[in-house]
Symmetry: C2
Subunit: 160 residues, 2 copies
């Protein structure tokens, strides 16, 4: 409790000019992780502008590019999204003809994913935005970047 005058504290509006106290939140990694992720995401979207890119697209296209023939399940794991989240993203990408799939004779449940030439082109554009965005982040974290990525990766490895 931060007010001593209890009778008044019950109704008095906190002055907007006073700084907001975060208490224990101040020292919680999880809290700052959420704020930073949200800020980074918004900044990325600002950069790409209106240019028709759902936020999931970039990672998905990049992963397919680097792993031609990857299955939706493997893609889901690599991109850190649930398989049920990947389904509509792929439907959209297939519909836009940015991605192509071929059935897997060895396992009829599954299929293999590839980028079309249009998909490669789209990826190139998004990659330029992503590179620019990451340059901003690089400037912020400076020479601590590798350390930062190492720690983030550890969080994922241990908690996930």
């Amino acid at each position: 409790m931060d007010k001593t005058d209890i009778s008044k504290a019950q109704t008095r509006v906190k002055d907007d000019a006073e700084p907001v106290l975060l208490g224990e939140l101040e020292n919680y990694v999880g809290f700052h992780l959420r704020l930073a992720q949200s800020a980074s995401f918004k900044a990325f979207r600002r950069l790409t502008g209106e240019s028709s890119l759902r936020p999931g697209w970039f990672a998905v296209l990049a992963i397919i590019h680097h792993n031609p023939g990857i299955t939706p399940m493997a893609l889901s794991r690599a991109s850190g999204r649930d398989k049920s989240t990947i389904t509509p993203v792929l439907r959209e990408l297939l519909h836009e003809e940015l991605v192509r799939r071929s059935t897997n004779p060895a396992d009829k449940r599954s299929y293999a994913l590839f980028l079309t030439p249009a998909g490669e082109e789209k990826l190139a554009h998004l990659a330029a935005c992503a590179a620019e965005h990451d340059r901003e982040l690089d400037e912020i974290v400076g020479d601590k970047k590798q350390e930062m990525i190492r720690l983030l990766r550890r969080i994922v490895a241990v908690l996930d």
Copy 2:
């Protein structure tokens, strides 16, 4: 492109056993930020179990606790959520009588927020979970914690 045999590469399924290549994503802070935030969030929910807590609740309750009389707008800024996201959270908290509000005579558009005794109790429970969760994170980041938080805060300050 990672396959040289083009004619086959067009349809061959990538073996699930092969490691997935992330390419440039590997070195993007933003990408790992998202994965880590998602992992941390899931871990927190695992800890709190079914116990009826919308994820927004903890931060909101804690901030009101530390800033009695805070307005919804200031709360929205401090918690990093849009004002339109705060509205339904507050409606729920008011309905559950965990939060109480009093009108602001100086500005009739706004009002002041306070925790009820039940709200304080609820917060105490959630705080215990959060503390436990953060202990896990502490172990992962070790002595780099302050550095980590400093960097995350910088990302928010610069990009937001």
